[in-house]
Symmetry: C2
């Protein structure tokens, strides 16, 4: 089996993402058409906000994974396009609501919808997109796919509430945190890939492999994001570095630093995350402490470990361009660190 480490050593991020881009290009063109059509409305504000989101440079990783997972299981129908568009709408609705909840001003280097059109429109347009997502799923007519995606929808929201409630307390453990990102990030990746074998008429073994692939990939993806939030530059990331810190979001690098810190350092983290003492000087100090305790390296190690799990799950697929594409996505998620 080709190992993740060797792949990572010899490829650049673009080389790793290219296979899924090529594989899904034709279907993704149809996904994008469907997204534009389903974001249409006589209520002008809806397509206006939708266009902003659509043009905001997301990679559309999740719908590409739905396409790849369906193709990897020999699916040759049309339903994967609708499910992929549903997955992207669910993701977009979550982003709209997240930005309201987190009071974020920037995402992917662009102003968030809420700073342009207000929180009210962001909440309601998110609801609209979620409704449209379910309409498309119903059109596909697979109750199994509907069960997977509707369960994910509830789990994602539950994870967000959990994070909201847990965000401001340093008693959050690593296990707590993994449970939160399992819900708020990994659940949609997992659902996006599990519906592939479902519409291809495959059984529980194939579903379980894809569920596992999506989950592990999602966890790795989120942990890499957490590292980038303390490591990248705002320009490269298209997102403000230190956002998580300023929002009091307790991510794995913070938890590791806290656990490994002495009493004085623990007191610093409490002031920063619980009491909101999170100015630029505090952020700089936080980064110092992370370096002192190898907190980013530890988080990267966890991400790589989840990446290996995802790799093994996809490696169980029959050899095909779709399998290669799904393996490449794992590398891509990790290589974003370079």
């Amino acid at each position: 089996m080709v190992s993740l480490a060797s792949q990572a050593a010899r490829r650049q991020p673009q080389e790793s993402i290219d296979p899924i881009l090529s594989l899904s290009a034709r279907d993704m063109a149809r996904v994008n058409e469907l997204i534009l059509a389903m974001a249409g409305s006589n209520v002008e504000l809806i397509p206006e906000i939708a266009r902003h989101l659509i043009s905001s440079g997301g990679k559309r990783l999740r719908p590409m994974l739905t396409i790849a997972s369906a193709l990897a299981h020999g699916y040759d129908g049309d339903h994967h396009v609708k499910l992929a568009a549903s997955v992207e709408f669910m993701h977009t609705a979550t982003l709209l609501h997240d930005d309201v909840v987190d009071e974020s001003d920037m995402r992917r280097g662009k102003r968030t919808a809420r700073t342009i059109w207000g929180n009210q429109a962001s909440v309601l347009v998110g609801d609209f997109l979620l409704g449209q997502a379910f309409k498309m799923m119903v059109e596909v007519g697979s109750l199994d796919a509907l069960a997977i995606l509707s369960a994910a929808s509830a789990v994602i929201a539950e994870g967000e509430v959990w994070q909201l409630a847990a965000a401001k307390t340093m008693t959050t453990t690593e296990a707590d945190y993994i449970a939160v990102i399992d819900a708020k990030t990994a659940a949609l990746f997992s659902a996006a890939t599990e519906v592939g074998p479902v519409i291809a008429g495959k059984g529980e073994a194939e579903r379980q492999a894809m569920r596992g692939y999506g989950r592990s990939l999602g966890l790795a993806f989120q942990l890499v994001d957490d590292v980038l939030d303390y490591g990248g530059s705002a320009a490269a990331l298209g997102k403000n570095t230190g956002d998580d810190f300023r929002e009091g979001k307790i991510t794995l690098p913070v938890i590791v630093s806290y656990e490994r810190g002495d009493a004085e350092e623990k007191a610093f983290w409490q002031r920063a995350m619980e009491d909101g003492e999170n100015d630029d000087a505090a952020l700089a100090h936080a980064k110092e402490l992370m370096q002192r305790h190898d907190a980013l390296e530890e988080t990267i190690a966890r991400a790589r470990s989840f990446g290996e799990d995802a790799y093994r799950a996809a490696a169980s697929l029959p050899i095909s361009p779709a399998r290669e594409a799904m393996l490449g996505v794992v590398d891509f998620c990790i290589e974003r660190l370079n």
Copy 2:
């Protein structure tokens, strides 16, 4: 056919609502159990907010209508309970998001969730309840019912965005307004009743009758609400009278007053609704103008007319306690004015 007017003349609101309360009592006990179970979560904040909403004294009209509509079509299975709970969750999720969008502090005489737990939790718990609603619908396994309810979900949000965009301009016409409440209120009533014949295995004629009943009832219900917002007392209504006025919500009484007003009055409405000059003195003047132009009477007449439509649609049902219950609900909606 028994006419709405004669019913209204001889009955009190409680007498009209009693038949559906009795009819649905046993099933609604199961709906309530299911609601509590599905609002459960390890994330404490979720059941906490859910309990607040559940105990906040809503009449649960929509799920009762789903029960009654299923029974009116001879349904003797279990699925109406899950669909009724789904309908109530959809409604509750909408209320949570509405209160955030409208910045409302009170609903049904109690503090809104957002004033107790914040806008963030209200947005996310609303999302969670919507996800749980879809999970229950999927468990029922009727793609037709899913199509009806998911379409309603998108339409409701679309109507809310429309209202948000149209709220502050006096160019809103009566037709615009009916279109808004058709989406934001009538769509859920309509879906709640249409799923009855669907799970009972009935055909398009029965579905159409119930769709029409729910829609007309929902329109009548909303127009009566609009009148009560300028007519009742805060204590009786459990809601602040004048809320719509203070929020710049252009409802039918405002539209009628504006259309019938002279230039000076039109200027007053523009200042009040568009520029936010809506203090207590302005509200008192608004009520005077409504009286001068019979705006509340005109709105009531429209509500009665929609009520008659609902009445006719339900009267097409075979005679049964469920039919009586559904006719009674129409009277109840109108009689709330007394």
